[in-house]
């Protein structure tokens, strides 16, 4: 099932995109992912325009995180056609890397390094030059309310502070597509407001948000994908 793109999308993007920058951000057709005999995803189809927000809902085990990891090129699909930012997956996954900001269940931060050292490490991996990286890291730590704890080792931080740092890591390289798995987890009310500045709709990127909290994210959604266990996915505009 392929949904129609919303007409109300904002096309802003914060990073130079490849030549296919004018097409939809995500196109899925008959996406399937099996783990052994069990199908975690079966027949998922949708189309999402650039700048739009897709909210993915569903019970535990419905394949929400699996979908996000496939879009992030971290998992190979078992079948179906996938295009993300104009790159056909998994064949052109290498073209897509660096254009995705992925916020998963794990913060992807080294516990024995400080928050600032972690962000520097990721900035180098993404090819940011030193001066630009330092300015960007200062800006992000300030926005996330982590400027005073940025030099503490990650192992010494609370779960909420780690999530704030993970959000900083996710947007550090100004990705065109944000893949957010429960972005508010471990955040208090103040943390949610700060996170909204970095990964909220105002940032202008295409966003895919996996959540168990529809009340929080449905108002921001251009498209909604409902995944069920043993059912085909349903897309609503």
């Amino acid at each position: 099932m392929i949904g129609q793109p919303s007409q109300s999308s904002s096309m802003a993007s914060t990073q130079d995109l490849p030549s296919s920058a004018s097409g939809p951000a995500i196109v899925l057709a008959g996406l399937r992912r099996d783990f052994g005999e069990r199908a975690a995803l079966d027949g998922v189809g949708l189309e999402l325009a650039r700048g739009e927000t897709l909210v993915v809902l569903g019970p535990n085990g419905a394949g929400k995180t699996t979908l996000l990891r496939i879009l992030a090129t971290l998992l190979r699909p078992s079948g179906g056609e996938i295009s993300v930012l104009g790159c056909a997956l998994p064949r052109e996954a290498w073209k897509l890397r660096g254009q995705i900001g992925y916020l998963g269940h794990e913060p992807l931060l080294y516990r024995d390094l400080s928050g600032r050292e972690n962000l520097r490490f990721h900035a180098k991996l993404h090819g940011l030059d030193r001066a630009a990286a330092e300015a960007r890291i200062d800006e992000l730590l300030l926005t996330a309310g982590m400027d005073r704890r940025g030099d503490d080792r990650v192992v010494e931080l609370s779960a909420g502070m780690r999530q704030r740092l993970a959000i900083c890591r996710c947007v550090l390289h100004r990705p065109a597509l944000l893949l957010l798995d429960e972005p508010d987890s471990n955040l208090d009310a103040a943390g949610r407001e700060l996170a909204r500045e970095l990964i909220g709709p105002g940032a202008g990127q295409t966003r895919v948000i996996v959540t168990h909290d529809p009340d929080r994210f449905l108002p921001e959604a251009d498209r909604v994908l409902r995944l069920g266990i043993g059912e085909r996915a349903a897309v609503a505009s």
């Binding site: 992030a72 090129t73 971290l74 998992l75 190979r76 290498w94 890397r97 660096g98 995705i100 992925y102 998963g104 794990e106 913060p107 992807l108 931060l109 080294y110 516990r111 024995d112 390094l113 050292e117 490490f121 990721h122 180098k124 991996l125 993404h126 090819g127």
Partner: protein, 226 residues
């Protein structure tokens, strides 16, 4: 694409900084080696070793101490999401292989800076062999690092990692150990270092290094796939 030298320096710098801060691998490797030399000293009841026995004691100890470091080489990437972070970044994945192998070489050199003098103190009456031994150590370290990085990356996702690494690694490094002990044996001969077939063994070590460096470079990308 991020330049490979930038990504290489980032990964190597991160590994060395984390190790200096936590000291999770190096002290264990060094303590293991020194303790093993003490056990050999009293177990063999000898204050001096030479030739093939000295060479065997040295290389068996260094190899098993190295296994401790190899076991832990990718633990942070596995447990703290480093693999995902690197798979999301626009980098050539063989950079990770090169950086991890280089980190392991640094660990091995640091281990040898402690272990070899202790070995000489316990078992040798002259330090004359230590100079030429450096060439053997460097070539063997490169081979051990290439093989160890490859095996460690394969085993890290298994719960039986600590068992798998030695089970797979030790058979693979048998040729390396034969060449390393073969080159070291004449250096530790009674009456001072000799150089019988020394060059041949160094060439065997170099060939082993070349094969496993190329193999690691060729297959590492596939090992990182889901």
């Amino acid at each position: 694409m991020t330049p490979s030298r930038v990504a290489f320096a980032a990964v190597l710098g991160k590994d060395l900084r984390a190790e200096l801060r936590t000291l999770q691998s190096l002290p264990a490797m060094a303590i293991f080696a020194v303790t093993t030399f003490v056990i050999f000293r009293f177990g063999l009841d000898r204050t001096q070793l030479s030739g093939d026995l000295a060479s065997g004691v040295l290389w068996a100890t260094l190899l098993f101490a190295a296994v401790l470091g190899i076991n832990r080489l990718f633990v942070a990437e596995r447990e703290e999401g480093g693999f995902d972070a690197m798979r999301l970044a626009p980098i050539d994945r063989s950079v990770l292989f090169a950086a991890k192998a280089s980190a392991l070489i640094v660990y091995l050199l640091a281990l040898e800076l402690i272990a070899v003098p202790v070995f000489a103190l316990f078992f040798l009456d002259s330090a004359a062999a230590l100079g030429p031994l450096v060439a053997v150590l460097l070539l063997a370290d490169l081979g051990l690092a290439a093989t160890g990085t490859l095996i460690s990356s394969m085993a890290v996702n298994s719960r039986s990692r600590d068992l798998l690494v030695p089970l797979i690694l030790l058979p693979l490094v048998v040729p390396l150990m034969i060449a390393a002990t073969g080159a070291t044996d004449p250096l530790l001969a009674v009456g001072g270092p000799g150089y019988e077939r020394f060059g041949t063994w160094l060439m065997v070590l170099g060939l082993y290094d070349l094969i496993f460096v190329l193999l690691g470079y060729a297959v590492f990308d596939f090992l990182l796939e889901d």
